[in-house]
């Protein structure tokens, strides 16, 4: 961060039009993205979407068929992995089983011919940082999963890479440990200030840890943004569906009112959505609303059914208790099944199956869904 020889405002990583094919399969399709210095950036997507291939191209284990990879301004597209300023934490840790923990972590330093006493000091420091302080003399194949994970992290970080690449490092851990490690990783990244590029298929994890997230599907980069913007303003149906759950509907516009489009049936149900000026009565729109933005009020207690905004009548079909929150499956006449999700508090317990309820949500809680492919290139 204080490297004066680096031009200011230069991204840590720049990928330009990077494409990779394996036979007839296009694993990475014309991806362009920039990762800032010190950023915790996640690549999120389902299995086979190309995120790991992209990561490996950053590391140097694959070479792009088209496009270039820049590391701090330098073109490293064809540079071998052992000569790049990146280090990787592998999904199966890939510790060297025939060496001790100490020697595993020291491996990179030894190759750089760092003096022995300095190695000792730095290794022990790093082991403390990742939380395996006393295990230096243990054989690497005699550690628990969590310990191995930390050692793999230490082994990579100790080399002070420009960018740390992490390939689903927590996927083999149990839930509790994983949650703890997520927070620890975030904290380590923050204190060291190293740029992290993190690959995962777990959207919760990505949203929790990252400064920015890039969503990939079938080799294409669909959207990049801060977690909130990805979640609340997904650019297309895939992103919206992949990150969190949604209710998605198709409505027919009955009238417009400035920017707003309104769909009404005759029974007092009304849907109001922001649609832009090009929308006309009679158009069909697809919209989505997050379950946690959908409020349920028992009909009996409904204050004023004439208020403007979204309102549907429905009957609660099912109540699913999920610990910290509860899901309600509500059958509405106009939109069919609607899912609502509320925190499990006393108020929520009043909503019981069979109850007649009013279903409402804020106008800006809904967003339109376009096709899978975004119209313009994704930006922050």
């Amino acid at each position: 961060m204080t490297d004066g020889s680096r031009r200011p405002f230069q991204p840590a990583i720049l990928l330009e039009g990077v494409t990779k094919r394996f036979g007839s399969v296009v694993a990475v399709d014309n991806v362009t993205l920039a990762v800032e210095e010190g950023e915790f950036f996640s690549l999120l997507g389902p299995s086979g979407c190309g995120k790991t291939t992209l990561l490996r191209m950053l590391a140097g284990f694959e070479t792009p068929d088209d496009g270039s990879v820049y590391l701090r301004g330098e073109d490293v597209t064809l540079v071998q992995p052992n000569k790049r300023a990146t280090n990787m934490v592998f999904q199966n840790y890939e510790l060297f089983p025939h060496m001790t923990v100490f020697n595993n972590v020291a491996y990179g330093l030894k190759l750089k011919k760092v003096p022995r006493n300095e190695i000792g000091q730095r290794v022990n420091e790093m082991l403390e940082v990742v939380g395996v302080g006393g295990l230096g003399t243990r054989a690497a194949d005699q550690l628990s999963g969590g310990q191995q994970q930390r050692v793999a992290l230490a082994r990579a970080l100790i080399n002070r890479p420009a960018v740390l690449l992490l390939d689903e490092p927590l996927s083999a851990l149990d839930v509790k440990l994983r949650k703890r490690m997520q927070l620890e990783l975030k904290s380590i990244q923050h204190s060291l200030g190293t740029t992290f590029v993190y690959v995962t298929h777990d959207q919760e994890e990505a949203l929790l840890m990252s400064d920015r997230v890039g969503i990939m599907d079938h080799g294409r980069l669909l959207q990049i943004g801060a977690p909130r913007s990805i979640y609340e303003q997904p650019r297309n149906e895939f992103v919206a569906d992949f990150v969190g759950t949604l209710n998605d509907f198709a409505i027919t516009v009955t009238r417009t009112d400035g920017d707003l489009a309104v769909a009404e049936n005759g029974d007092g149900d009304r849907i109001v959505v922001m649609a832009g000026h090009s929308c006309r009565a009679g158009d069909t729109l697809r919209i989505a609303v997050r379950p946690e933005r959908i409020l349920l009020t028992p009909r009996a207690e409904e204050a004023d059914s004439g208020q403007p905004g979204n309102r549907l009548s429905g009957r609660v079909q099912d109540v699913i208790y999920m610990g910290p929150f509860t899901q309600y499956l509500v059958d509405t006449g106009m939109l069919g099944r609607v899912v609502s999700q509320r925190v499990s508090n006393e108020e929520a317990t009043l909503i019981t199956p069979g109850l007649e309820v009013a279903v409402t949500w804020a106008v800006d809680a809904a967003f339109p869904l376009s096709d899978r492919d975004p119209v313009e290139a994704p930006t922050t």
């Binding site: 590391a59 140097g60 284990f61 071998q80 992995p81 052992n82 000569k83 990146t86 280090n87 990787m88 592998f90 199966n92 890939e94 510790l95 060297f96 089983p97 025939h98 491996y107 990179g108 190759l111 750089k112 082994r155 990579a156 080399n159």
Partner: protein, 308 residues
């Protein structure tokens, strides 16, 4: 199920608890018998065709020679004669030396070969491995005759060198020499060397090599520092195979080595084939076998000690 099993067995009146215990023992016994039966053909074959002749050879080494006929007896003079002949000591040492050199050469070829098979040609590696093994099936003598025509005065090597103008007269030393013996043996032994190393390398994940490279190691350094230690078990086995196989060699030196007795195996062949002193030959053969066993032990424990 418990009922039907006990009905097959002898009729007994037991309590429920006793019955289930009995079932476990019955099943276990049946499984054990089945296991023994399955082992039987292989062990019978091994015993009949290997252990029995070996025992015969051992017995022969104590027989007395009367008029070129071995006569059952128990004398130690054969061993005395065989172990005190200076030629034997000299040939024995030379054989060990040759075995050592060839083992090193074979390992130097086998390890990269197994590495390339496992990590470079990962997709086609089974097919390529099979091709290497196929050369073992080609027949021992056929290979030797092939080498004879390759190394001869009108063979490929000499003709190429002459054609390229590097030499004018064919090199005679290529054939009927230690070089010819070495070349043919190395050719024969490489599959034996590749086999165990390849097998051991199967357990090495290519990602661990990537991890080493990611940390700054070149491919060669990663092979040396990571892959080699992790496949050491296979390297040890390969060393033992190759070394011991070479110790017993006599056909190759006989056909490619000129008129000289090159290896201790030639001496054993002399006893059995020419001078018809079978007890002495058997004594020398048994001595060689004991030496092989000792070497196997030394090599493996030494290598274990030296490499983790």
């Amino acid at each position: 199920m418990i009922e039907s099993v006990t009905r097959r067995g002898p009729r007994r009146k037991r309590s429920r608890r006793g019955t289930s215990g009995e079932v476990l023992v019955a099943i276990d016994r049946r499984r054990r018998v089945a296991a023994w039966l399955q082992l039987f053909p292989g062990s019978a074959y091994f015993t009949l065709l290997f252990l029995v002749p070996l025992a015969g050879l051992l017995a022969m080494s104590f027989f007395r020679l009367v008029d070129f006929d071995p006569v059952p007896a128990f004398v130690l003079s054969n061993y005395a004669e065989v172990l005190t002949t200076s030629i034997h000591v000299r040939l024995g040492l030379r054989t060990i030396q040759v075995a050592g050199i060839l083992t090193v050469i074979v390992l130097l070829v086998s390890f990269p070969c197994a590495y390339v098979l496992n990590f470079v040609f990962r997709a086609k590696r089974q097919l390529l491995y099979f091709l290497i093994l196929v050369s073992l099936f080609g027949g021992y003598i056929v290979r030797i005759y092939a080498w004879r025509s390759i190394l001869g005065r009108q063979g490929v090597i000499n003709q190429t060198l002459i054609g390229m103008g590097i030499i004018e007269e064919p090199i005679r030393y290529l054939l009927n020499s230690m070089f010819a013996v070495g070349a043919s043996l190395v050719n024969f032994l490489i599959p034996l060397g590749v086999l165990p190393i390849y097998a051991a390398m199967q357990n090495v994940s290519p990602h661990v090599i990537e991890a080493a490279r990611d940390l700054g190691a070149s491919r060669i350094r990663a092979a040396r520092q990571i892959v080699l230690p992790l496949s050491m078990r296979g390297v040890r086995a390969a060393t033992a195979f190759v070394f011991i196989a070479t110790l017993g060699e006599w056909v190759t030196p006989r056909l490619l080595g000129g008129t000289k007795d090159l290896l201790i195996g030639n001496r054993i062949e002399f006893y059995f084939g020419q001078s018809l002193e079978w007890p002495q030959g058997a004594a020398l053969a048994m001595t060689l076998m004991v030496a092989m066993g000792v070497f196997a032990y030394i090599i493996i424990s030494l290598m274990k000690r030296l490499t983790r």
